[in-house]
Amino acid sequence: MLALDAVTKRYGGTVAVRDVSAEVPRGALVTFVGPSGCGKTTLLRLVGGFVEPDSGRVILDGEVVNRHPPNRRATGMVFQNYALFPHLSVFENIAYGLRIRRTPADEVRRRVMEMLEVVQLQGLGDRRPNQLSGGQQQRVALARALILRPKVLLLDEPLSNLDAHLRLAMRDELRRLQRTLALTIIFVTHDQEEAMAISDRILVMRGGRLEQAGTPQEIYEHPATEFVARFVGQANFVAATLDRAGQESGPSVARTALGEFEVAPDAGSRLDGAAWVILRPESIDLLPAGAGVVAGEVVSASYVGAVVRYTVRVRGEQLLVDQFDPQRREPLREGAAVSLALPRRVHWIPRTA
């Protein structure tokens, strides 16, 4: 449906988007995620036609649309602050695109009413945008874009202006609409949890570059870089040396201060074997002293309700360890002796100096 081919965009001396290639399949919800300034919004605006790439191609439905202005692209955009026309009613906001296309009045009326129903705003057509709540404004913005049946719907941090509860509700609603209307959506957010929860595919961006692309599961379980591993969830990085023997067949071995782990072989074989193994805090079990594999000592604990996150010192390494459902156990004090059970098979990434 949509493809980006080696797209680069500079602003003066800074490169906002650098050589990004990606594909958005029909009917998928793809999320661009990354910290602020990573280029995700620029990328979205490149797709929407508000920004023209310096090099590379933006391909929509098989057609290169690099130089098409926004009003000549079959994309629909929902802006972070909704950008509703303050001088027009809800009805006229939603009807705007049809009016521009000189659609007959009765068809406009029918389709706007239909749209109001889709976003559950029946009866609010005569209101002004400033008479609506944030969630309602969000729905109007969505309806205004959807009524033109865009090939790709672009959402720029659409949930960031909503309060926490509404955000979760709108997230589910968005996902439901996407599935029932079979929408192709590009979603931009800086919130990795939101990205994980809503997406078919995630593109993690950093400094204008595409850091990694994959399903939420791939991104979380097999992060390609330290940045990705840290950006999605918490991670412990333990220095390791890969055993290069027998790597053609079956799993290979990573040696660390905490013992040996089973890892996938180093297919690239361009390294001297230096690696990080990644231990997620929730995959480590915290056990009474002596019960686990390695002995350790509690350095600090922070209680966040569903989880107690302990920092445990183990053979000179400090590890984050999550213990779930703290109500069922005695809290551990600083200095308490504990032991850890570590996962046998772990994910690794290359370690460079």
Partner: protein, 571 residues
């Protein structure tokens, strides 16, 4: 398991990263090439600004280096410095501007301290009094000072002494009253936005009221005071009406330039004087718009910190109150005398109520011309100002900064320079406009264009650009977006620009005094003529009419500003 090592990233291309100074312009040109409409409109505006703002200024500069025959010479400047008759105007103007600045900023500070740092119940009426001169055409204070302190004025007759306020004292007082509101507004704005907690902190550390004022408040307010001082200095230099009416024949730059051109047909020397008016204005323009650019916003958006109202204590309060009350008394008196003059047969001689001064056909003809001129100028200024504002803030027109500066120039350059420039430029083919209403309209419109533009820019800064982008994304082209979204949302800015230009148009003198023709007199200029010839009653009546018009406009403006939170020019 996927092989993470295979996830490659592309090495940065260092060469492509280096910033190049022309990148911005290249980007602008590329962007603009996609929008021919923008380029055409921008080009037309550039041409108009060139013709009606920059070229007239250029004409004055060129003329100052030319003989009457049109050949290059430095003789004009040599003559200027050789003859006291010429250079005294420069010295007098500088002395007057310095004195006015010191007095006005001092009074502005006094009024500010009373209104923001005392609990006195008088602070509200005093604030009101200090702003009262805003509603009057500036030179009516000269008019009323003549009634009060002229050779046969109130003071001379009542006391039976030989007294004449004309000359230094008269101009100084008249200018002080004229420019006090502006200085007061700027200084007060600075004080209000100063965080009161800083002063509380100083008190908490053991400083007394006077020490707090000296070591914390005034140093923090210095940039604001400096800004007020610069503006008053320039306005005093550029003032035409007051020195003309009450200068007592002492030469000042603006008046001498006018008299040299109109009285002696000496365009080269008039231009030299105008250049000396232009230079300080350009200096202040540079300081204001180049060096201080962007800083003004912090005081506008800063919400005043919550702190309890401070009081200066009696040692400072009473002297300040006395100064402010005396000033307020002078202001009330000047207004009162003009109103009385308008409704009295011959003030001080036949003190009978009459409406005859309001029945002058020539007077009403002048008012009609003024209104026609102002409507024309306001329509042009508000429309062009709006389009300019949009081009400058929203479209990447190449050279948009130059466009903005050219528009701001119109206001920054003293009216005398612009008036002279128009005469020089439009008195000969290819474009002869002198003697017509249109030259008055164009002159006023392009001098006040920046007010409409700034109102538009202020409004556009309030509007999120994504609203227009949303319209583009929904299929509307540039023009459709401008018509359906931008124009409806900018209505208030248009009205503000219109009303302001209209108001200024009815009272402006310094530029149009060069351009009025027989049978095409403007009310404000006619008041000057009347006052000079001693027709005080008629002059006062016309002044009252103008005050009423200005009051109406200010009321409208205030309503607009309150409803929409617009920031108008002059801040």
């Amino acid at each position: 398991m996927a092989a993470p090592g295979g996830m490659s990233t592309v090495a940065p291309r260092a060469a492509a990263l280096a910033p190049r100074p022309w990148d911005g312009l290249l980007e602008d040109v590329r962007q603009a090439a996609r929008e021919p409409v923008t380029l055409v409109v921008g080009g037309v505006l550039a041409l108009l600004l060139l013709l009606f703002v920059l070229l007239p200024i250029g004409a004055v500069l060129v003329q100052s280096f030319q003989t009457r025959a049109g050949t290059f010479t430095l003789r004009n400047y040599a003559d200027f410095f050789a003859h006291r008759f010429y250079y005294r105007a420069l010295i007098n103007s500088l002395i007057l501007a310095t004195a006015t600045t010191v007095v006005v900023v001092g009074l502005g500070l006094a009024f500010t301290l009373v209104s923001t740092r005392t609990q006195s119940p008088l602070r509200h009426p005093l604030r009101w009094l200090a702003l009262l001169p805003l509603v009057a055409p500036p030179f009516i204070f000269s008019l009323s000072l003549i009634i009060l302190g002229g050779r046969r004025g109130l003071i001379a007759q009542a006391l039976g002494i030989d007294f004449n306020v004309k000359g230094w004292a008269g101009v100084l007082i008249a200018q002080t009253i004229s420019f006090l509101p502006l200085a007061y507004l700027i200084v007060e704005n600075v004080f209000v936005s100063l965080s009161g907690t800083l002063e509380e902190a100083a008190t908490d550390l053991g400083a007394d009221q006077w020490t707090v004022l000296r070591t914390v408040t005034l140093p923090l307010a210095t940039p604001g005071l400096a800004k007020a001082a610069l503006l008053v200095f320039i306005m005093s230099l550029a003032d035409f009406g007051n020195p003309m009416l009450i200068g007592g024949g002492r030469g000042f730059l603006a008046t001498d330039a006018y008299l040299l051109l109109i009285g002696e047909q000496n365009a080269p020397m008039a231009s030299v004087l105008a250049v000396f008016l232009l230079l300080p204005a350009l200096g202040v323009f540079a300081v204001h718009h180049v060096f201080l650019r962007g800083r003004a916003f912090t005081t506008i958006t800063g919400t005043p910190a919550v702190a309890t109202r401070r009081d200066l204590g009696p040692a400072l309060r009473w002297p300040l109150l006395a100064v402010c009350l005396a000033t307020g008394l002078v202001i009330v008196t000047t207004f009162g005398l003009v109103v009385m003059g308008a409704f009295t047969e011959v003030l001080l001689i036949r003190n009978r109520f009459t409406l005859e001064h309001f029945q002058s056909p020539i007077g009403w003809a002048a008012v009609t011309t003024s209104l026609k001129m102002s409507v024309g100028a306001a329509t042009i200024a508000a429309t062009l100002g709006l389009v300019l504002a949009y081009l400058i803030t929203r479209r990447r027109v190449p050279g948009r900064t130059a466009l903005e500066f050219a528009a701001l120039f119109g206001l920054a350059v003293p009216g005398t320079v612009m008036g002279l420039g128009y005469i020089l430029l439009f008195n000969t083919p290819p474009l002869v406009l002198t003697g017509s209403l249109s030259i008055l309209i164009l002159n006023t419109a392009f001098r006040e264009l920046s007010v409409g533009m700034e109102a538009g820019i202020s409004k556009l800064h309030q509007l999120d650009p994504s609203i227009e982008e949303a319209s583009r994304a929904l299929g509307a082209g540039l023009l459709a977006t401008f018509r359906r979204v931008v124009v409806p949302l900018m209505g208030s800015a248009f009205v503000a620009g219109f009303v302001y230009t209209f108001m200024v148009g009815t009272i402006t003198v310094s530029a149009v005094v060069f351009l009025v023709a027989p049978g095409m007199n403007l009310a404000a200029v006619y008041i000057l003529n009347l006052a000079e010839t001693g027709a005080i009653g008629l002059a006062c009546a016309l002044a009252v009419v103008l005050i009423a018009i200005v009051l109406g406009c200010l009321g409208l403006l205030k309503l607009i500003v309150r409803r929409t939170g617009l920031v108008l020019g002059g801040t």
